[in-house]
């Protein structure tokens, strides 16, 4: 990739990539590693072209990357332990919902995780999520319903 384009993308997209990595990985070093890995992989990609949907592309790419990282068994065990240590005993209602969603990420199907992140962390509408994930608005509703069912089951179980 053209170094000037890489620099520009890093300036424009880097903050959002780091934000998303922090949200999912909950570890500053891991998040910064993810930031570097995502952009380093682009450096060797000669076919990448900046398009109108570049920002959305980075959202999806980073979300997938971090979810895969989180699902890695070694990392998952360590991160969850660290997260448990850092997690406050009480959180505001909205914060609690987000923390709960994060804690479930390692167990939930990928599409449910994605929808949950876009909905709770990015505060997207169902329409926006549907456009990003390439599916219907109705399907997004189903995914979030599955999330809520799982949450309730977890809370009760």
């Amino acid at each position: 990739m053209n170094p000037a384009l890489l620099d520009r993308l890093y300036r424009e997209q880097g903050p959002a990539v780091l934000r998303r990595a922090r949200q999912i990985l909950r570890d500053e070093d891991e998040a910064r590693d993810a930031l570097q890995e995502i952009f380093l992989s682009l450096a060797d990609d000669q076919a990448f072209t900046q398009r109108g949907g570049t920002t959305a592309w980075f959202y999806v790419r980073t979300t997938h990357f971090c979810l895969n990282r989180l699902r890695d068994s070694t990392n998952r065990a360590r991160l969850r332990l660290e997260r448990a240590e850092r997690m406050p005993t009480t959180t505001p209602a909205r914060g609690e919902a987000i923390v709960l969603a994060r804690d479930l990420l390692a167990q939930l199907p990928t599409d449910v995780c994605e929808a949950a992140i876009y909905y709770y962390c990015d505060e997207m509408t169902h329409d926006e999520i549907a456009a990003l994930m390439g599916c219907s608005r109705r399907h997004i509703g189903h995914l979030l319903e599955r999330l809520h069912l799982t949450t309730r089951t977890t809370e009760c179980g």
Binding site: L6, D7, Y10, R11, E12, Q13, G14, P15, A16, L18, R19, R32, D33, L35, Q36, E37, F39, L40, S41, A43, D44, G52, G53, T54, T55, A56, Y59, T74, R94, Y118, Y119, Y120, C121, D122, E123, M124, T125, E128, L132
Partner: protein, 230 residues
């Protein structure tokens, strides 16, 4: 009054994605959008937070390492020559500690048009190219670090940011090679075989510090002697 849903926003409110798209020029800042922000504290504050996040973003981008490649030629040479012999090396871990199944690195040397198996303490010259091979009896993640004559550490393998997966096998030709620079002297090459994909920066720092190899990793080292071109 805005109709607020479960996330605390109205359908017209900005998501984080929309904020980023707006700041990246991908979303037209139309009049109705401006009017909404003027009337919606949440969206005005969110966009302001995104702006500040950009201003305070100060993480430098690490530049990719560049390796010159001649992999295809070497891989072909290795295949044609069928070299599967174990070459003895001047191991720094002593002759008594190395077992047959221990992970190991070796290399091919390319000088001009000639390619051959590298030897222990091989005398090499700037411009020579080396392509590593690696052997392991268990799946591993590998990085190869060089400490050159000026005590400068470099990552020779892999090209990416984390140790590369290595399948079980003997003398596997790695898909990356390096052309030696003009720093002369004794150069120590260390293969670090780990049970997970550690960041190469972490491995490089550990090897450069001459100790403290990360837990779950084992090493195999060899040396080459780099001299000025005669």
């Amino acid at each position: 009054m805005w109709m607020i849903d479960g996330t605390g926003r109205s359908p017209d409110c900005l998501s984080h994605l929309r904020c980023d798209q707006l700041l990246n020029g991908e979303l037209e800042d139309r009049d109705e959008l401006k009017a909404h922000r003027a009337a919606c504290e949440r969206c005005a504050a969110l966009l302001d937070r995104h702006r500040k996040e950009r201003v305070s973003f100060a993480v430098p981008l690490q530049r990719p390492r560049h390796h010159r490649r001649w992999t295809a030629g070497l891989a072909a040479a290795a295949a044609v020559l069928g070299l599967w012999l174990v070459v003895p090396r001047d191991r720094d871990d002593g002759p008594g500690t190395r077992s047959k199944g221990k992970p190991a690195i070796s290399f091919y040397l390319k000088r001009g048009d000639a390619t051959r198996r590298g030897r222990p303490g091989e005398v090499v010259f700037p411009g020579d190219a080396i392509n590593f091979t690696a052997s392991t009896d268990v799946p591993a993640f590998l990085a190869i670090i060089s400490i050159d004559g000026a005590h400068h550490a470099s990552v020779y393998y892999p090209g990416g940011p984390t140790a590369a997966p290595l399948r079980v096998g003997r003398d596997q030709v790695l898909p990356l090679s390096v052309v030696l620079d003009d720093v002369v002297g004794r150069e120590r090459l260390t293969g670090v075989f780990c049970d997970r994909a550690l960041p190469v920066d972490q491995i490089e720092a550990a090897v450069a510090a001459d100790g403290g190899i990360p837990r779950g990793c084992v090493t195999d080292s060899l040396t080459i002697e780099k001299r000025p071109v005669p």
